[in-house]
């Protein structure tokens, strides 16, 4: 009891001297609250999110203007019998085109990318290393250059495939295959050879090892890369703009751009953009929850899951 009292009184005295005699000026005080940084962060959030919020708000405008707000309605989503996203055939088909492109690209690019990652991980040579470099290169090459190159491929080289859905899918798959290839490879390196050796040691054939050990270990990475590919295709503009041919295979991003740029914008476009935004959000949330579910019990917290799903995109 006495010792406790003694200790507290000493520390009290110490605190008094520290606070009293050597009070620091606010900008010299290393423990001060970072008001400046915090304020700047808020400012940045406001600056970047406010325009999006306003654009979304105008998608609910009951009037025809993208600039003067006249009250809430679902008019531009489905209320308007001619110009709403739901009733305008061009806008409606663009939503489905985007979904189709995302789904096909994901279904084709992810298995190819995973196979590539597995192959490169086992095949150690100069050739393998240079293939790997090509994969990373596609992160560096400007998308426009790639898109134009693909455009010439389909208009001059392989004219058997004409511009349109198939060309778009081929272009997008080529562009996006790096995601699964790189992410799954990183996961393979992280996993190491132990589990495979353990499985072989316990009598599993190579095929059984792949199915019973490697696939469960790789699922989170495969899933994360699928999410990235899917959401990447929703956002994609350059490749699809160059490789689409008519309204039936033009996705949302291109419609929004060309209509707005052509001066024919209206709240229906805001509605279409909102649909795109929601789609991206849903995919990201599904990705986050799915990744957490798959890696449960493996001591991966939400932060890490988020970093894998979203962080790799930056």
């Amino acid at each position: 009891m006495t010792s406790v009292t003694a200790r507290s009184s000493t520390s009290g005295a110490a605190a008094k001297t520290a606070g009293g005699s050597t009070r620091l000026r606010p900008w010299r005080n290393p423990w001060r609250h970072p008001w400046l940084l915090e304020g700047f962060t808020w400012l940045y959030l406001l600056w970047s999110l406010a325009p999006i919020a306003i654009a979304v708000l105008f998608s609910f405008n009951s009037g025809k203007s993208q600039a003067s707000y006249q009250g809430l309605s679902w008019r531009w989503y489905w209320g308007d019998p001619v110009n709403s996203v739901f009733h305008n055939p061009q806008l409606q088909s663009s939503v489905f085109t985007t979904l189709k492109l995302s789904a096909y690209t994901t279904l084709i690019a992810v298995p190819i990318g995973v196979a590539f990652a597995l192959g490169i991980n086992r095949w150690r040579s100069k050739t393998a290393a240079s293939f790997n470099f090509v994969m990373i290169l596609s992160f560096v090459v400007p998308e426009l250059i790639f898109g134009v190159a693909m455009f010439f491929v389909f208009t001059k080289l392989f004219t058997g495939i004409q511009l349109g859905l198939l060309a778009e899918i081929l272009g997008l798959v080529t562009w996006n295959v790096s995601w699964p290839a790189i992410i799954v490879q990183a996961r393979l390196v992280g996993i190491g050879r132990h589990y495979e050796e353990a499985a072989a040691d316990l009598g599993a054939t190579q095929w059984q090892t792949m199915r019973r050990v490697m696939m469960p270990l790789l699922w989170p990475a495969i899933f994360a890369s699928a999410i990235l590919v899917f959401s990447g295709v929703i956002d994609d503009f350059v490749i699809v703009d160059l490789l689409s041919s008519n309204a039936s295979n033009t996705p949302m991003s291109v419609i929004i751009y060309s209509t707005q740029h052509g001066g024919n914008g209206g709240p229906a476009l805001n509605a279409l953009a909102t649909v795109m935004l929601v789609m991206s959000f849903v995919v990201a949330i599904l990705g986050f929850l799915g990744y957490r579910f798959m890696t449960r019990g493996q001591r991966i917290d939400g932060q890490q899951a988020l970093a894998t799903i979203a962080g790799a995109e930056n």
Binding site: A200, L202, G297
Partner: protein, 381 residues
């Protein structure tokens, strides 16, 4: 289950350099055999060759008389406990242990009864629903053991299985592991760099260096009769003194000159070259008052005392310039020597051995962290 005889015939594995160099070794059925050596000596590569994770460059691996060098790992009747355990993180304890049985298409009742008895064996029955991530290191290690033993292999390979555990757990698991081996009666091939583990558990052990086996024998043989300075040093006997043999008597006895003193040495006299190393274990060095007379007494100075609880380590500097360690049991009977005291060290003839092989001295981490010979080393740090 009988079987589990391993024979290595001029086994060689070359990566960029030679990792395993022309090893010949026979391990009997049901033996607890250890491969002991520092990292990079080829002990783990040897184990991986037997498991089938690596292909030998040359030589043969015979398992119960059959050459298995070309048999893929999943078809060899050996199982491994990995240093990292390699438990499948997405399966619970039960499914981890059942993994090997599931490829064998057993009826489910037999499968679960075998898994349960394996978990009983390692005392983890109540943990079957947990995932590896929810277990402590020691528990994970037991799951790894159960997972390997449930397949009833003829040989169990253990790659530093206690390496990742803390000292106290290691001590108790050592005893359990040995008991387990006696209970299941299969061959254990144990790879370790810890001489204490190898000495406590093994029936026989091999000390390795640079891909070669330096000495094979029972723990007593290897510890008491090290073939060269490398083995002596690696097994924790670091009291090596350079001597000149002046006279050889019958039965290994000889006279060895250490500086100005002549010591009578009881062991190793026949094979040792004229210029060789004499070795004595720290627990056999006796410290006496300075001036005590008699044979085999050398003047020394107490350099440093290290209190270890049950014993005290005394670092001596002999007049001949050699450093010597003594371990005194703290049983109340010893005089408390203080630093800087001149004393006489009594090196009993029957505790001294001259070594046949020279060899280099192994790197050991458990010596004093500072150079005790340098005065003021502590203050300078």
């Amino acid at each position: 289950m009988p079987g589990g005889r391993i024979e290595l015939v001029s086994l060689t594995k070359r990566f960029a350099e030679v990792a395993v160099d022309d090893i010949d070794l026979q391990i009997a059925s049901g033996e607890f055999f250890s491969l002991l050596g520092p990292s990079g000596c080829g002990k783990t590569t040897t184990l991986r060759l037997i498991a089938g994770f690596e292909q030998p460059t040359a030589g043969k691996i015979l398992l119960d008389g059959t050459d298995v060098s070309a048999v893929p790992p999943h078809k060899r009747n050996v199982n491994t406990v990995f240093q990292s355990y390699a438990l499948f993180p997405f399966l619970n304890v039960f499914d981890n242990v059942a993994f090997g049985l599931r490829s064998r298409k057993l009826p489910s009742s037999e499968l679960s009864s075998r898994v349960c008895s394996a978990l009983d064996l390692v005392k983890l029955k109540s943990f079957e629903k947990r995932r590896p991530g929810q277990l402590s290191g020691g528990q994970q290690q037991r799951v790894a053991l159960a997972r390997a033993l449930v397949l009833q292999p003829s040989v169990l390979l253990l790659d530093e299985p206690l390496g990742a555990l803390d000292a106290k757990l290691r001590r108790s698991l050592k005893v359990e592991l040995k008991a387990l081996q006696e209970q299941v009666g299969i061959t254990f091939l144990y790879v370790t760099h810890d001489q204490e583990e190898a000495l406590t558990m093994s029936d026989r052990l091999a000390v390795m260096r640079d891909g070669k086996i330096v000495q094979i024998g029972s723990p007593t043989e290897v510890y008491e009769e090290p073939s060269d300075t490398y083995v002596a040093d690696f097994l924790g006997v670091s009291n090596l003194m350079e001597v000149d043999i002046t006279e050889r008597g019958p039965g290994g006895q000889c006279q060895a000159k250490l500086g100005d003193c002549v010591l009578t040495v009881d062991h190793g006299g026949q094979e040792a070259p004229d210029r060789s190393h004499a070795v004595i274990r720290p627990e056999r060095v006796k410290i006496e008052e300075f001036g005590s007379t008699g044979p085999n007494r050398v003047p020394a100075m107490v350099e440093r005392l290290v209190y270890l609880g049950s014993s005290t380590q005394v670092f001596l500097r002999l007049a001949a310039g050699t450093d010597l360690q003594a371990v005194l049991q703290n049983d109340g009977s010893q005089t408390a020597w203080s630093q800087g005291t001149p004393v006489h060290a009594f090196l009993a003839p029957d505790a001294l051995r001259v070594l046949a092989g020279g060899g280099e001295v192994a790197e050991q981490g458990d010596d004093l962290p500072i150079d005790i010979a340098a005065p003021g080393a502590l203050q300078a740090g």
